[in-house]
């Protein structure tokens, strides 16, 4: 327990989290501080390329063993299973409409790449190793959740989906898979795997060395955006707010079990917990919005960005690490 408090403090007092807090405070104080649109997109692509390259190079190093295949299958399973839990909770406990429940569920089956990055930076700082293929797992989890979200909506409210004139499922999935961030993540993963350590010389000084500092700047931006979304939490109501904290805990628990079953290291297990616990706010919101026009998009954004993200990066990361060590 003592160790948990210590590591939680380490995490909270790391520059990355402090920049997040700075952004949050700036937003609350109504400062005009905001990163330009082009910079946000640019940094976002940079981070995806960076983590993809790193993961690919690790994969090249570790080799495509059976563990990698198993891990990717497990990631696909998480992406399908977590939305089912979320949907059940939202529909039967929260009494949300089918489309709203389905839309929110899809977010929790997918992943927040920035939470993943913050967790991996935390691991490096604390001296834990982790498996490179966790990044491949992250890539796998981008799309199944969207598919399951659409299936849930169609299955439980078949008339609704049709009448609403939402974009066809196939096109939604295609667009989600071809989202710029996803393409650059997967592409960089392959480039990293192909070029291996040899490529690190070329890309390292730009994509690896300054990585954590760039992440600080991005978390400054995330702080501003999260605070803005958090301000809407009254609109989402008490039940959904609670869901935004409960669901990551459930996701983390399932992720931890998955990591343990896969025989991963402590660091790797933490990252799988993050895959389970975090909710997407990049590709999935737009995808669900065009697929399920009658769902209220502010529910998902407020939950994923305003509640779950801050919870995960501040308390979640050290908590899940504590639990990962405990079960190992």
């Amino acid at each position: 327990m003592n160790e948990f408090i210590q590591q939680a403090t380490h995490n909270l007092l790391s520059p990355i989290i402090l920049f997040f807090v700075l952004g949050w405070i700036a937003s609350v104080l109504k400062s005009d501080l905001h990163l330009p649109e082009a910079m946000v997109r640019g940094i976002s692509y940079y981070l995806m390329a960076s983590i993809g390259l790193k993961g690919g190079m690790e994969l090249a190093h570790e080799g495509w063993t059976a563990s990698v295949i198993w891990a990717c299958l497990a990631a696909g399973f998480l992406g399908l299973f977590l939305p089912l839990i979320a949907f059940s909770l939202l529909r039967w406990l929260g009494r949300l409409s089918v489309v709203d429940a389905a839309a929110i569920s899809a977010h929790y089956g997918s992943v927040s790449a920035v939470t993943f990055l913050a967790a991996s930076a935390f691991l490096t700082r604390e001296g834990y190793e982790f498996e490179g293929y966790t990044i491949a797992m992250m890539a796998v989890m981008e799309s199944p959740a969207i598919a399951i979200g659409l299936l849930l909506a169609t299955f439980f409210d078949p008339s609704g989906r049709k009448a609403e004139g939402g974009t066809p499922a196939g096109e939604v999935l295609r667009e989600a898979l071809l989202n710029g961030s996803v393409v650059i993540l997967v592409g960089a993963l392959i480039i990293g795997a192909v070029t291996g350590e040899h490529g690190a010389e070329t890309v390292g000084p730009f994509f690896f060395d300054p990585f954590k500092g760039v992440l600080c700047l991005f978390l400054l931006h995330m702080g501003i955006e999260a605070a803005r979304r958090f301000a809407d939490f009254r609109q989402v109501g008490l039940f959904l707010t609670g869901f935004g904290i409960l669901m990551p805990l459930i996701g983390a628990a399932i992720g931890l079990a998955t990591g343990k079953l896969l025989g991963m290291s402590i660091g790797g297990t933490l990252l799988v917990a993050i895959l389970g616990a975090s909710a997407s706010y990049i590709a999935v919101p737009a995808a669900m919005h065009v697929a399920l026009p009658k769902a209220n998009p502010s529910y998902s954004m407020t939950l994923a960005l305003g509640i779950t993200f801050p919870f995960n990066v501040t308390i979640g990361i050290p908590l899940y690490l504590f639990l990962a060590k405990w079960i190992h």
């Binding site: 330009p36 706010y281 919101p285 065009v290 960005l305």
Partner: protein
Amino acid sequence: MPYDPKRMKKVEIVIEAVKLQQVLKIIDQAGASGYTVHESVTGRGHRGYRRGGGVSDLYANAMIITLVDENAAVRIAEEVRDLIQDYAGVMMISDVDVVWPDYDQDQ
């Protein structure tokens, strides 16, 4: 060249960014000769304050201008009206005198 404009309808549409492509398709199908797009505007309306530039495109708006004849304007209006029933947007139509080059002369 003498001043000899053509009276047309100027249709202006504010629409959320994720639906921009669909509106452009509607415009094309109505037979418009073209369109001009402001890819990033901000705004407030019935669906609250909207501003892009974040990690998601969800809150971004675009604005489209298209010069068409009256028939096309009506057709676009009807389809866009259905669309903005579910998505953030507004549409306005006015009269303008349009100056076109003489497309038969070359090109």
